[in-house]
């Protein structure tokens, strides 16, 4: 059963009076527990595809179905609600709320969701901070952390609501390769531990290598889809 289903989706942007097609008739299904990498050069449509899947944008044509819901039929409020409950986001430039502490940044989605006691929230947040290896910085502000540490906080924030799907837009682009590798390892670990589906975009071949599946995009079209795990199984040992 796929958590995300993209069916014949096109997305056009208006640039002045010219229509710029960002995606042309794209179809993609992402199964539960996948660790999917979307690769392609700048301007190929990676981010547009992620935005559609992440319910922050809606398609010009075709359907995007996330966790069983057709995003084109949802109101702005319902889309926001869907993002809150179902999707976690990891951004290229971390995007933490600067005035909140590490702990509070991670707690933030839980507060938006509501329905938990302070103790439940604290346990969940601390467990995650521990899992991403940043528990000792819980009281720090994001500005006091390094890039890698910040991205760990962002991962914790994305996972805190136990979303079905985590989207990461170039999560390692602002990090050096060692740190970036660590972050990908961490994401992968989380993917394995909880079975959370990850979709991330990248143009770094080293990062792609970690993915369970790789989708290549060129000029708004899906150029290929490889199942790396299957290949690894076939090629390795």
């Amino acid at each position: 059963m796929s958590i995300v289903s993209v069916e014949h989706v096109s997305k056009d942007y208006m640039l002045g009076k010219t229509v710029v097609p960002a995606l042309r008739d794209v179809s993609l299904a992402v199964g539960k527990g996948e660790f999917l990498s979307i690769a392609g050069p700048s301007g190929s449509g990676k981010t547009t595809l992620l935005n559609l899947v992440g319910c922050v944008d809606t398609p010009t044509a075709g359907r995007v179905i996330v966790a069983g819901q057709d995003t084109a039929r949802l109101s702005e409020r319902a889309l926001t609600e869907l993002r809150l409950r179902t999707i976690g986001f990891i951004f290229q430039s971390f995007n933490l709320v600067s005035v909140l502490s590490v702990f509070q940044n991670v707690e933030f989605p839980l507060l938006l969701q509501g329905g938990q006691t302070r103790k439940e929230r604290a346990e969940r947040v601390l467990a995650l901070l521990d899992a991403v290896g940043i528990a000792e910085h819980a009281r720090h502000r994001p500005s006091e952390l390094s890039g890698g540490q910040r991205q760990r906080v962002a991962i914790a924030r994305a996972l805190v609501t136990r979303p079905a799907l985590v989207l990461a837009d170039e999560p390692t682009a602002n990090l050096d390769s060692e740190t970036g590798g660590n972050i990908i390892d961490l994401m992968k670990e989380m993917n394995r531990r909880d079975g959370t589906t990850f979709i991330f975009s990248t143009h770094d071949p080293k990062v792609m290598a970690h993915a369970s599946a790789l989708v290549r995009i060129e000029d708004g079209r899906i150029a290929s889809r490889e199942d790396l795990d299957a290949a690894r199984l076939a090629g390795g040992r």
């Binding site: 992440g54 993002r83 995007n95 933030f108």
Partner: protein
């Protein structure tokens, strides 16, 4: 709902932390809000207090709550005078009809007749006063009284007059040197000079006892007019039913003397008018110096005006010396020497010079000595309680009317004693007002008929009026010419007759009916419940229309004319200033918030992406600015309250001008902090703050989650 509460809590936290995160921006916005709240609190507190002061001053002194006057009047009623002098009002022919109708209107407690005008009052001169004293002695002696004390007074008073004659002769001798002896009026001048020479001779004074009345008449008619300092001053008065006036205006009080007895003729002279125009100049200047020092913190050492007053006081000693006969002068010198610590032989003139040479250190002591030692021996006011004064005014018919009235007392309005606006006002009985105004009362008509029987007397009366109208120099000549033709004995008799008839008139008690059946120019209405003023105003209008009285109705503020518009003017000024201030504040706050919002687009986008609803984002922004508004607004209001309190503790805002004295209803304004001022200021700053955050909020609302994805390359 728990989810909402959690979300609200975290959004508040972000909002507050954002404020703290940019202290400069928050500080600037806060300062604007604070100053705004401060201006509104202080401004409206002061204004409200001024409004209250004005209300007290106007309603309590002349205005009452409503005023009515003849609708056909050319001008509008201006109780305190306008730019062009007194209001041009048509008379209300019969006040009793107006009163009968208006008293029936519900909520009308009292209807007070009024007629406001200005008249001339002769203030007399020192010569006249000295002669008057001598005449008193002569009368007692001629009546057969005698005794060492009377003899001593008589001698002293005669010596006083003689000294004045000498002074006058010296003065005119100097004048003669520069005048042309062959000129047109040379003959009159010569005769004057001869009269003066005669009065200055030893022989004249040796023979004083032989023909006391004859000598007095000579001095009064031939010599006194040469002392040209006979002056007129203008008296502003309200002719009214005096008893009703005091009932209607609780601020009015008699400070010296007594009220005019019910139904009688008389005048209560405005205290402040007396201070400014009738008081001995030296005493007045001492008062002014004291006032400037005590109330305005001026010092003689470094204030030019005070120094000038001190100089003028030293030059004004002659005026005091002229008032003193030798006995009093001697007594005064003896008292002054020890008080001033002067050597035993120092003459009075030098002593007074010492007294008036004030410095900041010595002033208070000298001021006390003046009032304790010198003042009791002087006539401090040219017109004083107990005097009978002649008031003249051009009547309706074009002639000058004049009435003699007794000064029963000095009048002031509590709280606004020193305001020239109300304090200049004197109160005159209604009958005298009508005489001056020129509407014939039955009594006056009878008197004129009686006068017509003795034609000559009437002519003299007319001549004198003209003479005094057209100037003292001419008057002296005409008077003298007439006197030359008339037997002096007859003149004395005529004068005695006049005195007798004036005494009759002064003692006459008029009935309430006589007072009310007659002319008034306007009427003040006092209400039982002033809060119902507007409704009663309507009722009064209707009653006037129903009865066909043809009167115009105005409220107290309008009746006060220019003065009444002062508060309205202040209100407009404050309102305009506040509006301009907040318009600027709105632009600044709006700009700052737009900048802040644009800086946070990515953060807002992130929050939206991870599931924050739009309305939370907008709420967050509004909470931010509302917090600034509330915190700094409260601080500003508190600071404003502090300023208001500080003003009160520091002795209020001093009333440095007449107008302010009146408007403040006292020597200083003590602003009172109103709950409305504080609440109003908070409401205003909050409203402005939120209004200025609406556009930035709109920008924030339009931020999409996509913005969060925007990469930095």
């Amino acid at each position: 709902m728990a989810p909402r509460r959690d979300a609200a809590r975290v959004l508040l936290r972000i909002a507050f932390r954002n404020l703290l995160a940019s202290p400069v921006r928050t500080g600037i916005l806060g300062a604007i809000v604070l100053v705004g709240a401060l201006i509104v609190v202080v401004g409206s507190s002061v204004l409200d207090s001024i409004d209250r002061g004005m209300r007290t001053s106007i309603q309590g002194s002349l205005g009452g709550h409503l005023q009515v006057y003849e609708a056909r009047s050319e001008g509008a009623l201006e109780l305190y005078g306008g730019l062009r002098g007194e209001s041009l009002l048509e008379p209300i022919e019969d006040f009793s009809k107006v009163k009968a109708v208006l008293e029936q209107v519900p909520n009308v407690k009292q209807v007070v007749p009024m007629g406001i005008d200005q008249a001339m009052v002769a203030t007399g001169n020192a010569f006249d006063l000295a002669l008057e004293r001598l005449r008193g002695d002569v009368r007692r002696l001629e009546a057969g009284e005698d005794g060492p004390e009377l003899r001593r007074d008589y001698a002293a008073h005669a010596a006083h007059v003689r000294r004045m004659v000498q002074l006058l002769r010296d003065e005119i001798a100097q004048a003669r040197e520069i005048s042309d002896p062959e000129g047109r009026e040379a003959a009159e001048r010569k005769s004057e000079w001869e009269a003066l020479q005669r009065a200055a001779t030893d022989a004249f004074w040796r023979d004083l006892d032989r023909d006391r009345y004859g000598s007095l008449e000579f001095l009064e008619n031939r010599v006194a007019p040469l002392a040209m300092d006979t002056a007129f001053t203008f008296l502003r008065y309200v002719g009214t039913d005096v008893d009703a006036f005091f009932r209607a205006f609780p601020l009015a009080e008699v400070v010296k003397g007594e009220r005019i007895p019910t139904g009688q003729r008389g005048v209560l002279v405005g205290k402040q008018y007396a201070e400014e125009w009738l008081k001995l100049k030296n005493a007045r200047r001492l008062d002014q110096i004291k006032d400037a020092r005590d109330r305005r913190g001026k010092r003689i050492a470094d204030d030019e005006e005070l120094q000038r007053w001190v100089r003028e006081n030293r030059a004004g000693i002659r005026e005091i010396l002229l008032q003193l006969d030798p006995i009093r002068a001697d007594a005064l010198a003896q008292e002054l020497r020890p008080a001033l610590g002067a050597p035993a032989a120092e003459p009075l003139e030098a002593l007074l010079g010492r007294l008036f040479a004030a410095t900041d250190e010595s002033f208070d002591g000298q001021y006390r000595i003046f009032y304790d030692v010198v003042a009791p021996k002087l006539r401090l006011y040219q017109i004083d309680v107990g005097d009978t004064i002649t008031i003249k005014a051009p009547s309706k018919s074009g002639y000058f009317s004049s009435v003699n009235v007794k000064v029963y007392g000095f009048l002031q309005f509590k709280g606004i004693e020193r305001s020239g606006i109300a304090g200049m006002m004197s109160v005159l009985d209604l009958m005298s007002f009508r005489d001056l105004y020129g509407y014939l009362t039955a009594e006056k008509a009878a008197e004129i008929r009686a006068l017509q029987k003795s034609m000559g007397a009437r002519e003299i009366d007319r001549e004198r009026a003209e003479a005094e109208l057209f100037g003292a120099a001419d008057g002296a000549l005409v008077g003298e010419a007439r006197v030359a033709e008339i037997d002096e004995g007859a003149l004395v008799k005529r004068r005695e007759e006049e005195r007798a008839s004036a005494a009759d008139l002064a003692a006459h008690v008029y009935s309430q009916e006589e007072l009310e059946h007659g002319v008034a120019l306007n009427a003040a209405l006092i209400l039982d419940d002033p809060r119902l003023l507007r409704r009663t105003e309507g009722d009064v209008r209707k009653a006037i229309a129903d009865a066909g009285l043809g009167l115009k109705v105005v409220d107290w503020q309008e009746a006060a004319g220019l003065v009444g518009q002062f508060v309205t003017l202040l209100r407009v000024v404050l309102f305009t200033a506040v509006v301009i201030f907040f318009a600027i504040a709105l632009v600044i706050i709006n700009n700052a918030m737009v900048m802040a919002t644009l800086q946070r687009v990515k953060e807002i986008g992130t929050m939206r992406a991870i599931g924050t609803q739009r309305r939370f984002v907008v709420t967050m922004l509004l909470v931010e600015i509302a917090t600034v508004g509330l915190v700094f607004g409260l601080a500003g209001a508190a600071l404003g309250a502090g300023v208001v309190w500080g003003i009160r503790v520091a002795g209020g805002i001093p009333a440095v001008t007449d107008l302010l004295y009146f408007v403040f209803s006292g020597p200083a304004l003590f602003p009172r902090l109103g709950a409305l001022a504080v609440g109003g200021s908070l409401a205003v700053v909050l409203l402005v703050a939120i209004l200025s955050a609406l556009y930035p909020a709109l920008i924030a609302m339009r931020v999409t989650p996509v913005e969060a994805m925007a990469t930095e390359d």
